[in-house]
Amino acid sequence: MEEKEFTLIAFSENSIGLLNRLTIIFTRRHLNIESLTVSESAIQGIYKFTVVVKASKTLIEKVVKQIEKVVDVLKAFYLCEDEIIYQEIALYKVPTEAVTRSNEIEALVRKHNARILEITPDYTAIEKTGHKDETQHLFDDMKKFKVMQFTRSGRVAITKARRERLSEYLHKLDTEKLTVERS
């Protein structure tokens, strides 16, 4: 089956080792993680994992179910590119000398909608947010100025659907499960 890029989002409790538990699910299926971002979500104490993977739809569906099965995971789902708004951030460090020598870098910064964060006698730090191909494009354009450092973040994404799915889910949590009577 055809492989596509999916953004998988999981909300979890903040427990030690959870990242490990999640990555095991990918490793077991020989799936490579393209990017990964973890941080506290809009709800305090609940963490959001954003994972980008290339996989077939059938596989990603199974992976999502396995993730959701992890005890400390509240909710997991996957989204296709057209269902999300997403960004990555990239930082570039170039020699200041190259910036002052001509106005080429300034022109690139303008063209790519990037911005300059800091200028020192040695280096100039530039920031650009965008999709991976866009941050890559700027990197390629600046290569000839001997980029001293370049780094790119994992993806952050929000859904186009009106409500955040987690709040929906948290709301339903009480109604959708029965309490368990144990002897």
């Binding site: 538990r21 109604t175 959708e176």
Partner: protein, 564 residues
């Protein structure tokens, strides 16, 4: 709430007592010594059973849990003690067995320092547990244990690992215990959706040739009665998976036998004639389905399952009801039309007769000189009449025992299904006997598998567990030899064994035994074993190159089931 100041170690034991634990299988060592020290004071309340290897403790806990429906508890030390549990954890994970393993760990400040007997318990146990936790503070012990019991026993059950640092075992705190009944992120009982129950009922009522596939979910949910009511009302033939064995009595008219690789001919061949397959708490393992592309080719599929991750995993369901199977069956019963499918059922009888003539007769009533595994199982049946609990190890004898053992009561077959763990049998039998002290426990084990955990004869002897061990000795790693014969040109690479004198070994452990090699002595030998008041090892020398049939070769279609 009442509180009192006690040590973390005492909190472990009091918490276990709160959960109704009276038996622990374990093995002591440095990092868990504080708890063992207290076990000394709690001997009247908690029976700690010293196994001879931690793997044995894990399998014993599994056997205990499988027959009793209670949680099996293990306790081990750090490092090698913990790593020796891996096989048991992995086995319990695949077979959905509720066990809780408690391991000692180095002092918290030493974590990550490669201290003596430190190992990454969280890391290695993560993929093979339903949940795991490391506790570094005494005050977190009761909460961890409460949560462990809740998670291990609810939903789809499974193993839980609790790693407790030694300083947490020593530290004192104000103890109180509260049972856990909810974990925010965890849905043990999905709410039954009537809409799908109705759709399923519709398919069932309109089916001409339905077959039910009974899995362990029925047993874990305690839904045996509800299942029978459903099957009987709808007149549906029922076949069972290896782990579903004994949920339906052997001689029930709707029981059409075992599914899968060495299952019965009828249910395998009919899978591709059915117009409806109704899965009851089973997960379409590849040993059941054979090649999935050619599985149930004419059938719609209804899947009743508590674990959403199992739905559409291997086989796509037309209708799935994700809920506890007992609830599902209760809900569907009133919607089911009374039906008798005599003609359809008759086809299974014809298939059985065919299998009987080609395979079963020769297994159970052989005319050749050598003894067969099948006839040994038949003699046990004649003697026990379905009242015993059957434990098996892994291999040919496992398949023969599961196929032919007669079941009257549920929870009467304990075998390693998903992981297929050789060495499981002997310790699991011990655990089963501990969990069902009034039952006769019969273990069928191969000459290969028994040697993987043979040291547990010591545990059996020390505890005077009255297990009846039937060693089906073919001098081969039989199941592998069978594959070599059928698929590798009879090139018997490393499958023939030079075996010890098993009876001398048993006697060395203080266990009585006997060897039988000929048919005329078999009855008397089996009688002697059952009449003996205590554990007994009966070694039966069976034909060396017997094969288990029917067989759906790995990767073949269920329609291509071979009878020879």
């Amino acid at each position: 709430m009442k509180t009192k100041k006690i040590s973390g170690s005492e909190a472990v034991l009091l918490s276990l007592l709160e959960e109704g634990v009276d038996t622990i299988f374990g093995y002591p060592g440095g990092a868990i010594m504080p708890v063992y020290d207290l076990l000394y004071d709690y001997q009247d309340k908690i029976n700690h059973i010293l196994t001879r290897h931690e793997q044995g403790a894990a399998h014993a806990a599994q056997g205990y849990a499988r027959v009793s429906g209670k949680v099996g508890v293990c306790m081990v030390t750090s490092g090698p003690g913990a790593t020796n549990l891996t096989t048991g954890l992995a086995d319990a994970m695949l077979d959905s067995t509720p066990i809780i393993c408690i391991s000692g760990q180095v002092h918290a400040p030493l974590l990550g320092s490669d201290a003596f007997q430190e190992t990454d318990v969280m890391g290695f146990s993560m993929p093979i547990t339903k949940w795991n936790i490391q506790v570094t503070k005494a005050e977190d012990i009761p909460g961890a244990i409460a949560k462990a019991f809740f998670i291990a026993t609810t939903g789809r059950p499974g193993p839980v690992m609790i790693d407790i640092t030694k300083d947490a075992q020593f530290a004192e705190f104000d103890y109180s215990y509260e049972r856990c009944n909810d974990v925010r992120s965890y849905v043990p009982r999905p709410i039954l959706q009537m809409e799908y129950v109705e759709k399923a009922a519709d398919l069932i009522n309109n089916a001409k040739k339905p077959m039910a596939l009974v899995g362990q979910g029925v047993i874990l949910s305690g839904a045996e009665k509800e299942m029978l009511a459903f099957l009987e009302k709808a007149g549906i033939p029922a076949a069972w998976t290896l782990l579903g064995a004994s949920s339906i009595p052997t001689d029930h008219p709707l029981n059409v036998g075992m599914l899968g690789m060495h299952g019965n001919y009828g249910p395998n061949i009919k899978t591709n004639e059915c117009d409806l397959l109704i899965a009851l708490g089973m997960r379409f393992d590849d040993r059941v389905t054979g090649k999935v592309d050619t599985y149930g080719t004419l059938a719609k599929i209804v899947h009743f399952e508590i674990d959403p991750a199992e739905v559409n995993k291997n086989v796509i369901a037309d209708v799935a009801v994700i809920a506890d199977i007992k609830e599902t069956l209760e809900a569907i019963l009133p919607l089911i039309n009374q039906n008798k499918r005599d003609e359809w059922l008759n086809q299974f009888k014809i298939a059985y007769q065919y299998e009987y003539d080609k395979v079963i007769k020769n297994d159970l009533h052989p005319e050749k000189e050598e003894l067969t595994m099948g006839e040994v199982v038949r003699r046990v049946n004649e003697r026990m009449n379905g009242e015993a609990i059957c434990i098996t190890d892994v291999g040919q004898h496992q398949m023969i025992a599961s196929r032919y053992f007669k079941f009257k009561n549920t929870r009467s077959l304990v075998t390693s299904g998903g992981l297929g763990t050789m060495g499981f049998g002997l310790p699991a039998a011990f655990g089963a006997q501990t969990g069902a002290p009034d039952k006769t426990v019969v273990l069928f084990v191969g000459d290969g598998g028994i040697q993987m955990t043979i040291q547990e004869l010591g545990t059996i002897a020390q505890n005077k567990a009255k297990i009846k061990i039937i060693l089906l000795n073919n001098n081969f790693l039989g199941m592998v030899r069978q594959w070599q014969q059928l698929f590798f040109d009879k090139r018997y690479s490393s499958t023939e064994l030079v075996n010890p004198d098993f009876i001398t070994i048993a006697k060395g452990f203080g266990i009585d035994g006997n060897t039988v090699e000929t048919r005329d002595k078999l009855d008397a030998a089996i009688d002697e074993m059952f009449n003996f008041d205590g554990p007994f090892l009966l070694e039966v020398k069976v034909e060396k190159e017997g094969n288990v049939f029917p067989m759906v070769a790995a990767g073949a279609s269920v329609s291509d089931v071979r009878l020879d």
